[in-house]
Symmetry: C2
């Protein structure tokens, strides 16, 4: 393909390939302040689609969106020392505002959990106020010394869910619901990115959590990426923030809370799950542009036909654009391949004379010829086929890059090229430290059948270990 020369290939230099895709697909640029990013219109359109799909699922799970302030008093972050421990070197601190020095510095939120905790305590009075199911879409700041667009940036966009429940069982059930119905459903059915779902080992749990669940994806360089996480905080967080309710019996009781999040990191996950040497590849259900109609020559008849094709696809519910742009046909094709638009419809005079157009799949390069009249019927089906095939391909990749091993040394070796899976008993404690020395970590624990263990489950668990982002 012509496009191969435009990008560094994955095998040659994967980090460079990633940078090339982000730049050439016009997804993002570095901002003027180190570690910040400018998300360009095409990158933001992808994020809006991710956000919309996740938001719909969050609302279906009964949580309501709210908005909490960007600025947090510095004193809040010492309320729960355990929480702040992980953050302080990452904080950005405002010391001056309104033309003068502030009496108390304020911190730019690294997460809103402290302020949400305070307001939960205020809003929750009785058992009738429970569960309280909140979510926020916002920007957060964690200063990054080694930033990478979408994967590690000083400012990023995310959603953070925070819920309070009357009982431990209710909190656990809700956390699992978010993990399954929001994150896993989105990842599998929209992003076409199958992951290993499991719980974090105690050493990798979120500060203050009694259980952290994760979706761990496999990138095309053999490294794992955490796509989303859900935490059960037991009563720890409620204790720190005084989140009590009056039970039906009139007793003051501590709530059980959960928190869960996913971020613009998912755009990085998209790039590295599906991308190839020709660029990005966006699954059709996610794609802001599902079909690009490209004119082979800029002749009036061809342009008119292209507009009609687009109109008929739009009417069929397809997200479609026409490229009336500049440059040669070849160059435009390459550009749309880099952007990863799933299907390309080529409209040219020779085809038109026969009443047909050519449809090209971005994922396989397969071409098919379609009569103008049946295009609007055929394209939605073809998009679903592409969606299905991308999921199957990613699923195969995940399986092929998971190696069952029987020792820590074997796991470290296997992690050069994906996940290693082995008995958790062989790893816990010393084995984890040994791996960490080699930049390999336990990504999650599962039961032998691949299902999610409970937080305190003992016994026959396996762990998936890998290098990771």
């Amino acid at each position: 393909m012509a496009s191969k020369s435009v990008l560094t290939s994955q095998s040659e230099d994967f980090p460079r390939w990633y940078q090339d895709v982000v730049a050439k697909a016009e997804l993002a640029d570095n901002g003027p302040v180190r570690g910040t990013m400018v998300i360009r219109p095409y990158g933001y359109a992808i994020w809006e689609r991710i956000q919309g799909e996740i938001d719909t699922r969050i609302k279906a799970a009964g949580a309501k969106n709210a908005y909490f302030p960007l600025f947090i008093p510095e004193s809040y972050l010492s309320k729960e020392a355990e929480h702040v421990a992980g953050f302080s070197p990452e904080l950005a601190v405002v010391t001056h505002a309104g033309g003068e020095k502030l009496a108390e510095p304020v911190v730019v939120r690294p997460t809103s959990e402290t302020v949400i905790g305070e307001f939960m305590a205020k809003w929750i009075q009785s058992y009738r106020d429970l569960p309280l199911l909140l979510n926020q879409w916002a920007n957060v700041v964690r200063w990054e010394l080694r930033p990478r667009l979408f994967l590690r940036s000083s400012e990023f966009l995310w959603q953070e869910g925070h819920t309070a429940h009357a009982t431990s069982d209710d909190a656990s059930a809700y956390a699992i619901r978010i993990q399954n119905d929001v994150y896993n459903d989105f990842l599998v059915n929209v992003l076409a990115a199958p992951t290993y779902q499991g719980i974090k080992p105690p050493s990798e749990r979120f500060a203050g959590a009694i259980n952290s669940m994760t979706c761990e994806g496999m990138m095309r360089d053999g490294k794992a990426l955490q796509m989303a996480t859900t935490h059960e905080l037991g009563q720890n967080f409620a204790k720190a923030f005084d989140i009590h309710y009056q039970s039906e019996a009139g007793q003051a009781e501590l709530c059980y809370t959960t928190s869960w999040g996913a971020s613009t990191r998912l755009v990085g996950g998209l790039i590295m799950t599906h991308g190839d040497d020709a660029g990005l590849l966006v699954p059709p259900r996610l794609a802001p542009v599902q079909v690009i109609v490209v004119t082979v020559r800029d002749e009036p008849d061809v342009i008119e036909a292209a507009d009609q094709v687009a109109k008929s696809l739009l009417d069929a519910g397809v997200r479609v654009e026409v490229d009336r742009g500049r440059g040669t046909f070849g160059r435009r094709v390459t550009d749309w391949e880099i952007k990863g638009v799933p299907l390309r419809v080529e409209v040219g005079p020779r085809d038109l004379a026969q009443g047909v157009v050519t449809v090209v799949r971005r994922d396989t390069g397969a071409k098919s010829t379609h009569g103008l009249g049946e295009l609007a019927g055929g394209v939605p089906t073809l998009l679903e086929t592409v969606q299905h095939d991308l999921l199957a391909r990613a699923q195969s990749y995940l399986v092929e890059h998971t190696h069952d091993v029987t020792s820590v040394a074997g796991a470290i070796d296997a992690a050069k090229d994906g996940f290693a899976r082995l008995a958790w008993d062989l790893v816990a404690g010393e084995g984890e430290r040994e791996m960490n020395d080699q930049a390999v970590s336990v990504r999650c624990l599962q039961r032998r059948d691949g299902s999610m263990p409970t937080s305190d489950e003992e016994g026959d668990l396996v762990c998936l270990v890998a290098k990771s982002y």
Copy 2:
């Protein structure tokens, strides 16, 4: 109405009434840092609806969303001194991050225009890249010493559009398109809040603008509120940020730019345009909850019927909720009145025995009885009637609170209770200063027929003056 005792009345103390509505309708709370706000789920649901309606119109006008960083190098804000002049005391400055003092402090964006300017300069090469039509939804910070929820907060949410064009005519035409097709269309057809559209006098223009257009609404205390603004920046902004393009003839030319914005202030505008002594009143096309179904008694048959009513309305495309809450029927009715839900369906045993339910309009209190079978057909029509009536009422209010006068003294007097309209010739210069001394200002200039003048139009203009938020 029972609810009257819950809120301060408008006539007694309007600012207090406003505070009461914000608190009792559960729209927002003060954040822990002075001037910041917590937007509660119901308030945020209203904002999401505003955002969605405006976003659809922005996209229809061809602009694309992007995201620019929260942090801006302090040096950027001196690039165009004229722009920064208005902001510096309002800036929040980050001096420490990553655990150390920053070499150059960074500013929390009061607007993203400087950084957007820089990237426009980078992205625009040739005339083929124009127009470049960008929009951003984001939080911005302008330190407020006298904050008021939604109206003046240190952090607020907004959209800011920034566009670059090849010619002055193209820039002007686009600015007018945004003003008419985005802002005015939203205000009239969704928010049911008619405004005076006009241009700002030179003294009230945005820094650096050659023309500022505004939509000025009339609140129920007789004060004006600027609901949205659109600025033509001529080549001033392009000059400051080096935004050039190569023309078809191969010449380097400066672009013409525009910027335009609307914010969470619109929630304040909603409250003060339609609210009454019973609380908020949300126009049906905007309302996150258009119909609340309230059970008169919590009996199984009644609850089941309420659920069926809600289901049939949902199927008819109505945004509906069932109140299965606590408290007496009267208390629940009052709460939903405060929240301003346009229609209430009361489901009670006596009505049910006759196969009917009672529908109550929030705006007029009018009750009507509907057979269960015809409710799903009747409610959408009734919602449109309410929408229409609210617009008509607000329109009458605007007209009644606009007084044609013939002197500056007369205008100052009339501004106690709304807009004064008079010949611009009588005001320009000394008259403006005289008014400003009395906290009255020129809100906009119009032609005699109410239409929008061009920026350099001389001659027979009128001005609308008022006290304002």
